[in-house]
């Protein structure tokens, strides 16, 4: 067996060698695209989220290719890969992407998936220093990814959960009406973090605010939120903080509305896919969200280019809206990092991304060296009726959009990190 094994091993090496030689030959050509693996659910229950992200990626790549000649004159190509929202499947796909010579993988939905990818990429780069890869995270916001479990090969372009909570609690600090807060979250790490941070930060910033109740519900399984609504009502809360997303948020707000519950919802994902359409005008004035961007921000701020960008997207995908402004930031910063050294080698790119401070059309974006967390201006907005003026754009053709109520400068969002980054040799 050992003989056979050796032979097999030799053969593999030979084959791999040839393949490597070939790929080296082909990468030398200028027209060869820079490929980014897009690892998201494209089938199964979460496919809608993955699909919308893919629209964003393709739209951004196409426009950068058209308007900026891609990266170093090479076009960007998005390689979609379906992970079915499974961490282990994603780990396999990272492997497959690397096999195909892809150097950049991107993902955002699900911190559990993100954790698996960080682990896989980290391990792979350690074991195969000759074929490294870089992980660009555009939406997974678990603080651990830039703290205890941080990795040199991971960059996060969305604000992590604690940053969002810090901004949200800053805003609530100024709201005199907020007296009694109820915490309703999904029973998994994201929900746990939101609940814990909300408690900690509110206690710090508004000791007079009372947390009148806290509940964790199973993720994605509750169809009828009425029991929760009755709990909220009995607690006498005037505000609810929730990290819920998707159906868990939609159903919550619809139920609150039909039961006539009069509270404000402070959310992470109030403008997320499917929510505005399902909530409709029931969220006007009561549904708040914390994001780095929303579709009426360019109107309010007078960013014409940015507005043109989102209108362009809407023309191409009338059924969805431009939502992930950070995808644009991510691509542009990647472009800058690659072009700085004219190298796509993940190590060079990572070194250039670290500490990068980039002026985007929507303000400064800064990547902290310590933990590879992006910092950018954050906005709190509230659902409002489309009025053609400040609330010019609605979301998901629902007749309601978002209006900014507060801005937090990126300098104010910087939080300490426990990351002890292992640098590559």
């Amino acid at each position: 067996m050992s003989q056979l094994q050796k032979k097999a091993g030799l053969l593999t090496k030979a084959v791999a060698g040839v393949a490597l030689g070939l790929s080296a030959l082909t990468t030398a050509q200028a027209e060869d695209p820079i490929r980014i693996a897009y690892i998201e659910p494209l089938s199964g229950p979460f496919a809608n989220v993955g699909e919308m992200g893919l629209f964003h990626f393709r739209y951004t790549a196409d426009r950068i290719n058209e308007e900026h000649g891609g990266i170093m004159g090479r076009p960007i190509e998005i390689v979609p890969m379906d992970n079915r929202q499974s961490p282990s499947e994603s780990a396999q796909l990272v492997q497959r992407a690397i096999d195909q010579g892809i150097q950049f993988v991107s993902q955002g939905n699900g911190s559990n998936v993100a954790g698996a990818i960080v682990e896989t990429v980290d391990r792979h780069n350690r074991r195969n220093p000759d074929r490294r890869a870089l992980y660009l995270n555009y939406a997974a916001i678990d603080p651990a990814l830039t703290n205890d479990r941080c990795s040199f090969w991971h960059f996060r372009f969305d604000a992590e959960s604690r940053i969002k909570m810090a901004a949200l609690s800053d805003f609530m600090m100024g709201e005199e009406d907020v007296k009694k807060v109820y915490l309703l979250n999904q029973d998994y790490s994201h929900g746990h973090v939101v609940a814990a941070e909300a408690k900690r930060m509110l206690a710090e910033k508004r000791p007079d605010v009372e947390i009148v109740g806290e509940v964790l519900h199973p993720i994605g399984q509750v169809r009828d939120f009425s029991p929760y609504i009755s709990r909220i009502r009995q607690s006498g809360a005037d505000s609810v903080i929730t990290g819920n997303w998707g159906n868990d948020l939609t159903l919550l707000i619809r139920e609150a509305n039909s039961a006539g519950l009069d509270v404000n919802f402070y959310t992470y994902y109030g403008g997320g896919l499917g929510v505005p359409a399902a909530v409709g005008d029931r969220g006007i004035g009561t549904l708040f969200q914390i994001t780095e961007w929303h579709s009426n921000l360019p109107v309010e701020q007078g960013w014409a280019d940015n507005e043109e960008w989102l209108v362009g997207y809407k023309e191409r995908h009338p059924e969805t809206d431009w939502y992930y402004q950070r995808v644009y930031n991510m691509f542009m910063m990647l472009k800058a990092a690659i072009e700085a050294d004219q190298s796509t080698d993940p190590l060079d790119v990572a070194m250039n991304l670290r500490g990068m401070e980039w002026e985007s059309p929507t303000g400064t974006v800064y990547i902290r060296e310590d933990d590879h967390q992006v910092h950018q201006d954050m906005y709190i907005s509230v659902m409002a009726e489309q009025d053609g003026d400040q609330v010019k754009h609605d979301t998901e053709n629902s007749g309601v959009g978002f209006r900014t109520v507060a801005k937090v400068d990126w300098q104010d969002t910087v939080l300490p990190t426990s990351c002890n980054m292992r640098m590559p040799r």
Binding site: L216, P218, R223, D224, P227, I229
Partner: protein, 316 residues
């Protein structure tokens, strides 16, 4: 406290009635054909989607009747061209067939409707508040769901007790062999029962799709819990299904509405487990977090201790 009980009863009643609409068809099919129809919740989903599509052309009220009929026709075809063919190989392949069918239906719904939730709303006429208790308004549509469910139960009961077709069905629930011996065309009876059962599920879908969300995952969400109801109620027993639906509906609502854990019981006796104890997680487990486990626990316990359920005549 009174508030909690009132809300929980009202909400639990509604949830239970929706469960009943799904499980009554399944219990008929299960009790009579012995087929554990995994795709039953998929027909419920089809009911919601069909009603949504039809509703755009005909309005809600026509769709309320048309969608179940369409789904029932699909059910009949499923029995005629699928199940009947598999029947000769025994019960396991039948079960597996419906298992595969659930897969395919979900994927087809995704293909035609996409993965986003549908904007399936209640008719304007029912969009008002019926009454208000303790400051919580009770929407009229919920009362409508209750009415539909009660009408369905009464209709079903009369059908089974008072009509010839009902007698045949009842007969085959207890002794399928005798019905065949009496010269009835059993395959045809099966087909009608399957069509009827799926149509009932679809009716549940028409109203459930509005109350909950109409999306491709809705079948998978409901599937296991409907089994629990059917097993707890007893195979083939419509009243059993009703009672079990109520029990599950109210129980689930209560566990969600109250804040409770074993630690509370311990506290009455002045005992507490230290937080770093091996069983601390279990000890301090909140009742809302037990809620999703509860149906499965009931399922397992029922099957172990009373396999014929509350009202069933035969064992599963």
């Amino acid at each position: 406290m009174l508030e909690t009980i009132t809300y929980s009863l009202l909400n639990g009643l509604l949830y239970g009635m929706l469960l009943f609409m799904l499980s009554s068809g399944l219990t008929l099919i299960f009790g009579m054909m012995g087929v554990l129809n995994f795709a039953h919740a998929s027909f419920y989903m089809l009911g919601a989607y069909f009603a949504y599509t039809l509703g755009m052309y005909t309005g809600f009220w026509v769709a309320l009747f048309l969608a179940p009929i369409l789904v029932g026709a699909l059910g009949a075809m499923t029995e005629r061209w699928g199940l009947r063919h598999v029947h000769q190989h025994g019960h396991v392949p039948e079960l597996l067939f419906t298992f595969g069918l659930a897969y395919v239906i979900e994927e087809l719904v995704r293909l035609f409707y996409g993965t986003l939730p549908m904007n399936y709303r209640m008719p304007e006429g029912l969009d008002f508040t019926l009454f208000t208790v303790f400051g919580t308004s009770y929407p009229a549509f919920r009362a409508f769901i209750l009415v539909v469910a009660v009408v369905m139960f009464v209709g079903l009961y009369l059908l089974l007790k008072k009509t010839r077709a009902g007698l045949i069905i009842q007969g085959s629930l207890s002794r399928p062999d005798i019905v065949a011996a009496l010269g009835h065309n059993v395959p045809q009876v099966f087909m009608w029962v399957f069509a009827f059962g799926t149509a009932l599920a679809a009716l549940g879908g028409v109203v459930g799709g509005i109350h909950f969300v109409t999306e491709p995952g809705m079948a998978f969400m409901m599937g296991p819990i409907v089994f629990v109801v059917v097993v707890l109620g007893g195979l083939g027993s419509i009243p059993g299904a009703l009672i079990a639906s109520m029990i599950i509906g109210i129980l689930q609502t209560f566990t969600l509405s109250v804040d409770f854990s074993i630690a509370h019981v311990g506290a009455w006796f002045g005992y507490a487990v230290p937080p770093d104890h091996l069983f601390a997680t279990l000890w301090y487990l909140d009742s809302t977090r037990i809620a999703p486990v509860l149906p499965f626990l009931i399922l397992v316990l029922t099957l172990i201790f009373r396999p014929r359920g509350i009202m069933g005549k035969r064992e599963a």
